[in-house]
């Protein structure tokens, strides 16, 4: 493939030993980022948005998320586990939060900090952006990094509608780092490790859209930590970690679809799941829906509890978090628990750290920077698409006939790769015709390639 500038990097990897080239992931990918080459799936860096759908559908478990070496932890004197409430939602209600946190500490962490402590400051940051942009009526929550990337590559006209604020984990890591430094720790001695439910959050930490410095030292996959903690919970009954709980019942629900709503006034939409997100963005772009207010979107069904690195069923995890939220609410009412004792003021410096200066459009559709050239390519692509059978069999290694047509005009594939066009014997002709009937173009196409040579040129 022609070399091009790489804008995005990812933590998704294909295990070549396990990959069978079965095309399942390729057909599912919402940005058509996957092709089969050499019998294996390959992922295009600039097209992938880290949504994780490929991992969810892979029947061979051949796609995985690379995580940091757990041993990295011990390079630091102060080892902070930055945990989202999604993690707590993985455990049955019978396990107390403090027992779970005790286990995390036993694994080698010295501090635990919940990302959702930053909810109130995040709300202030959202409101700042919304106040600064009275010309916009629809605002898209920046919560799910996969949504932001999806908008960059597929819906570039909507980039300004995304609230230009970094993920809450960035603020949380900064707040806890500063707090430890105030207590005398030096910056290099502090390691902050985020427990991630998905690939998108890793990419957001490691290869941020903002281009700004991160306070997160490493990322731990949620399923990895879950397995370790669960074993310990079973092993011991005297695990109690006194925790100073300040999360409010509403904060607990923030990672769920609809979790941001209770914190804002005005109209609100909660859209979750890849298909729903795509449909909504499409309509938003066409102005076919009128959606003034805040649109909260999560690529995963139900929100982060549907993340690819979670271990328990998303509906069960949702119910568990809701149970914990109700419990907190009761404790708040009976004044057993106090909330809001943390300083939750937003400083100018935090605003500076958390603001994303620009979210660049990175259209994956644009055929060429030069309009005249793009026009020629689009014309050719339309003609090639007509010559292709339109059955989207994927035998060419592209997800659809339209994608192959695009690959051909971009110079990434030849029209010969289409097995319908390139059938040589009467036996293969008959076999294909018996399956696809009239969709099989006449042999004439094969002879002259419908006016195109093997590179798709006239």
């Amino acid at each position: 493939m022609p070399s091009e500038e790489t804008y995005f990097k990812h933590s998704l990897r294909v295990n070549d030993y396990l990959c069978q080239g079965c095309t399942t992931c390729m057909r599912t990918c919402p940005t058509r980022a996957i092709r089969i080459r050499g019998g294996k799936a390959i992922i295009s860096d600039n097209k992938c948005v880290d949504c994780g759908e490929c991992i969810k559908v892979c029947p061979h478990k051949a796609i995985y998320i690379k995580q940091d070496d757990f041993g990295l932890l011990f390079n630091y004197k102060y080892r902070v586990c930055l945990v989202p409430t999604t993690f707590i939602g993985q455990f049955e209600e019978k396990y107390k939060t403090r027992a779970i946190y005790s286990c995390i500490k036993k694994l080698g962490f010295t501090h635990i900090y919940e990302v959702e402590h930053e909810v109130s400051r995040m709300v202030d940051l959202y409101n700042l952006y919304m106040d600064e942009h009275p010309e916009l009526t629809t605002f898209i929550s920046p919560y799910c990094p996969a949504v932001t990337r999806l908008i960059q590559v597929r819906f570039p006209s909507l980039v300004d509608n995304v609230i230009h604020v970094r993920a809450p984990l960035e603020l949380a890591s900064r707040v806890i780092t500063k707090r430890l430094m105030d207590e005398g720790a030096s910056r290099p001695s502090i390691g902050v490790f985020y427990v991630t439910p998905c690939a998108a959050k890793i990419a957001a930490v490691k290869y941020p859209v903002s281009g700004k410095e991160t306070y997160v030292s490493g990322v731990i996959n949620m399923d990895f930590l879950y397995n370790k903690v669960l074993l310990m919970l079973h092993d011991s009954d005297k695990l109690t970690q006194p925790i100073n709980h300040t999360l409010s019942s509403r904060d607990v629900l923030w990672p769920l679809s609809g979790g941001e709503a209770p914190h804002f006034r005005g109209a609100h939409y909660a859209v979750d799941g890849l298909r729903n997100v795509l449909e909504f963005l499409e309509k938003l772009e066409d102005e076919a829906v009128d959606a003034p207010g805040l649109v909260e979107m999560r690529i995963c069904d139900q929100g982060c509890v549907g993340g690819v690195l979670t271990t328990n069923n998303r509906f069960v995890a949702r119910k568990r978090l809701e149970y914990r939220a109700r419990l907190f609410e009761r404790l708040e009412h009976s004044k057993i628990r106090e909330t809001g004792s943390d300083d939750c003021s937003l400083t100018d410096e935090m605003v500076d750290v958390m603001t994303i200066p620009e979210i660049k459009p990175r259209s994956i559709y644009k055929l060429n920077d030069d309009f005249a050239e793009a026009f020629k390519m689009a014309e050719r692509m339309k003609k090639i698409e007509k010559a292709l059978p339109g059955v989207n069999c994927s035998a060419c290694g592209a997800p659809s006939c339209a994608a192959l047509a695009e690959d051909i005009v971009r110079g990434d594939a030849g029209i010969d790769t289409c097995i319908f066009i390139n059938r040589h014997s009467q036996a293969s002709e008959d076999a294909i015709r018996s399956i696809w009937g009239d969709r099989v173009k006449t042999k004439e196409i094969n002879k002259d390639n419908n006016g195109y040579d093997s590179q798709g040129n006239h």
């Binding site: 570039p156 006209s157 499409e282 772009e285 066409d286 102005e287 076919a288 459009p361 259209s363 559709y365 644009k366 055929l367 060429n368 920077d369 309009f371 005249a372 793009a374 026009f375 390519m377 689009a378 014309e379 692509m381 339309k382």
Partner: protein
């Protein structure tokens, strides 16, 4: 490049295919998002007009190096008073169409706002042809 689509009377759910298809091509050409949006909004409004008022019709779209020309031609009642129809809020849509969330009287004014050139040929009892042009560069 040429595209054509059929319009079916009263089929609001399938409306928008023409604008989606045109949108895809304009994205491939790297047309400025503002112009893409103008084109899509204008085409969608014109299609909805035909779906709501006419007995059927046809959409023809031609894209060349500098502009996109969209012709939405319907067989329908025609527009008796074009000046009134161009006014915001004026609508002859049926109660049924309004119930579906259309017919706010913003169609033609919205098309006018989003196109560089607009021509409307209408004949009462015969039909209406709306020709819209958006310059791409």
């Amino acid at each position: 490049m040429h595209y054509s689509f059929n319009i079916e009377r009263g089929n609001f759910t399938d409306a928008g295919q023409a604008s989606s298809s045109v949108k895809r091509t304009l994205k491939q050409l790297g047309v400025d998002p503002v112009n893409i949006k103008r084109t899509v909004v204008a085409l969608f409004e014109a299609e909805i007009n035909a779906v709501a008022h006419a007995y059927g019709g046809r959409i023809d779209v031609d894209i060349d190096g500098e502009k996109i020309v969209m012709v939405v031609a319907d067989e329908g009642p025609g527009i008796p008073n074009l000046d009134l129809a161009m006014q915001e809020g004026w609508s002859t849509a049926s109660a049924k169409v309004r119930e579906m969330g259309y017919g706010a009287g913003m169609g033609l004014p919205n098309i006018k706002k989003n196109t560089d050139d607009l021509k409307i040929d209408t004949q009462v009892g015969v039909g209406t042809t709306v020709t819209m042009t958006v310059y791409l560069t």
